[in-house]
């Protein structure tokens, strides 16, 4: 007669090998005579690894298009085994993947790949963000011009900024679409603005000083101080252009009362 296992033993014995191919199937695993325990355990191991790689491929399609499928899946396999998800919500998975890409030996000749991934991660966060109507231009009409510098905003739940030293926005846009990929001649730094002004997520390139400006506003700074921060970063910062872009992109949901 076999002793009954303690309640926790089966999962503790079954789990480690799921993300470590060097480990054998758990000792308690059983198959009928003539079948292979190893082959059967490998079904689970394969399901776990492949489904999590698939999850990363779904979150990072532009990265996969840039690297090619084989390169991507090999890279993703390392990450999945080292960092399986902690949440059962797969759309939360892969937050550490951009940083992993930065350290991945075979991706070192693509230094802009991690920032492209960061834009893709921000895109998915914007996709699942809470619904809110973006702030309408008319809301500014009621503000006393003298008080404008003190106005603070409430960020739209979908709004994200991703800063890059590389032309990450152009690379993202080109590789998220189905069309042909043209040679990229720019090497400019590009900051991405990710928003959801209507039903769809949009990704646009911020003008100079725009990331500092919107970043300060999203963090709760008043309009005047945010504009100063932006001017400090770039003398080319254009306040009216940035205000118009901010409203049309739906970066904010409300003016703080």
């Amino acid at each position: 007669m076999k002793p009954e296992f303690r309640a926790s033993d089966y999962a503790a014995a079954f789990s480690p090998g799921l993300t470590n191919p060097d480990l054998a199937a758990p000792e308690d695993a059983a198959v009928v005579h003539g079948r292979s325990v190893a082959a059967r355990y490998n079904v689970y191991r394969n399901n776990v690894t492949v489904s999590l790689i698939d999850a990363l491929a779904a979150i990072y399609p532009a990265v996969q298009r840039i690297t090619g499928v084989d390169f991507f899946r090999a890279m993703a396999r390392f990450h999945v085994r080292a960092t399986p998800p902690s949440s059962p919500l797969l759309f939360e998975y892969g937050r550490g993947f951009p940083s992993f890409i930065e350290t991945y030996e075979y991706a070192r000749d693509m230094p802009w790949l991690a920032d492209t991934a960061r834009i893709e991660r921000a895109w998915l966060d914007a996709y699942h963000a809470a619904d809110a109507a973006p702030l309408a231009a008319e809301a500014f009409a009621n503000i006393d011009p003298g008080a404008l510098a003190q106005v603070r905003f409430v960020a739209h739940p979908a709004a994200r900024i991703v800063r890059s030293r590389y032309p990450a926005v152009a690379i993202f846009v080109m590789n998220r679409a189905d069309g042909p990929v043209a040679p990229l001649r720019s090497s400019d730094a590009e900051d991405a603005l990710v928003t959801r002004p209507g039903d769809e997520v949009t990704v646009s390139r911020l003008p100079q000083g725009g990331a500092a400006f919107l970043g300060a506003l999203i963090a709760g700074a008043p309009l005047g101080a945010a504009a100063e921060t932006a001017f400090e970063e770039s003398g080319a910062f254009d306040l009216p252009v940035n205000l118009a872009a901010m409203i049309s992109a739906g970066v904010f949901a409300a003016i703080q009362p």
Binding site: A7, A11, S36, P84, S86, P88, F91, A126, D131, P157
Partner: protein
């Protein structure tokens, strides 16, 4: 609240089973956003759709819109995939809260989860992993189902798993285990006929024998799905519960036998990867409807009007 009180509450619930109001004889399919436009154009009259709960646990956006669009038109079955009811760990409280909120938001006709585990020690494995069937695991599974039913304020359906391995330490049959869970918690059962077939082939037992032991009186929903066929190292057949192709003939044959015994149980075609165009998935649901309709006539001759109605929808 202690386990005893939860169990007492669970027992007070009416058994769901075939009598779940409004679901008798319905057929449906997995709901995929890729099919939404086609469904709105040419839907599934008197049908229902099943959604994976976790896909709608974000804060808002397009998934919420798609769920609203489908539930305005059809009854919904909310199918949880990662509650980890069969695991030894405590249920994830945050996940339980999200599940409760989703049930409140989408008011599903049916709510189900799996006899499996998917999280352990803080890692989520995104697969339905097997458990040994013992008195200890039975107590744990019943406690977890009590917690889920307490949270959502209604009974759930528990789905039988497709498995590739068993455990030497098991002391109960799967059907005996499932029957005991239903008796103790008041939950209903989701009988996945494809899982029965897949497990039977993989473990070398008779699917008919398994079904002969299955407590049909608790079944409130049936799943059908496609599986893929491999061979393991020993060249023994190895079936994978892949949900990526039409239902196999052998599974349709088992389904006919199940319906002959279990009655007009709402039946759902699962298809989760390598999605077909909507008309192909719809045709699978209509094939299930023909089988249900044929047995509706056999079992209750007075329901011929209902049969004619069904036949009309297929035309």
């Amino acid at each position: 609240m202690n386990t005893f009180n939860r169990s007492a509450t669970a027992h007070a619930w009416a058994r769901p089973g075939p009598a779940t109001p409004g679901t008798s004889g319905l057929v449906g399919t997995s709901f995929k956003h890729e099919h939404l436009a086609a469904i709105l154009e040419d839907g599934l009259q008197d049908g229902f759709f099943e959604v994976h709960a976790e896909n709608y646990m974000g804060a808002g956006g397009a998934p919420h819109r798609a769920l609203s669009a489908i539930r305005e038109r059809y009854p919904i079955s909310l199918h949880g995939v990662c509650m980890s009811i069969g695991g030894p760990d405590k249920l994830d409280h945050e996940h339980l809260v999200r599940f409760r909120e989703l049930v409140a938001r989408c008011e599903p006709a049916l709510v189900s989860e799996h006899l499996a585990w998917s999280s352990h020690g803080g890692a989520f494995f995104n697969d339905l992993l097997p458990l040994p069937y013992t008195r200890t695991t039975l107590d744990k599974v019943c406690d977890h189902i009590d917690q889920v039913q307490e949270a959502i304020g209604r009974p759930m359906l528990l789905e039988n798993p497709a498995t590739y391995l068993a455990f030497a330490s098991s002391t109960m049959s799967e059907t005996g285990f499932i029957r005991a869970v239903a008796q103790r918690t008041g939950c209903g059962l989701l009988l996945d006929v494809n899982n029965v077939f897949v497990s039977a082939v993989n473990h070398g037992y008779s699917a008919h024998g398994y079904l002969a032991d299955f407590p049909f009186e608790y079944v409130g929903e049936i799943h059908l799905a496609g599986h893929s066929e491999q061979h393991d190292d020993e060249q023994a057949p190895l079936l994978i519960d892949s949900h990526d192709r039409p239902v196999a003939d052998a599974v349709w044959a088992l389904y006919r036998d199940v319906i002959a015994q279990a009655g007009q149980v709402p039946t759902l075609i699962e298809w989760d990867s390598r999605l077909p165009a909507w008309p192909e998935l719809r045709a699978q649901a209509l094939a299930a409807r023909r089988i249900l309709a044929a047995h509706a006539v056999e079992q209750t001759p007075e329901s011929e009007a209902a049969h004619r109605e069904h036949a009309g929808h297929e035309a």
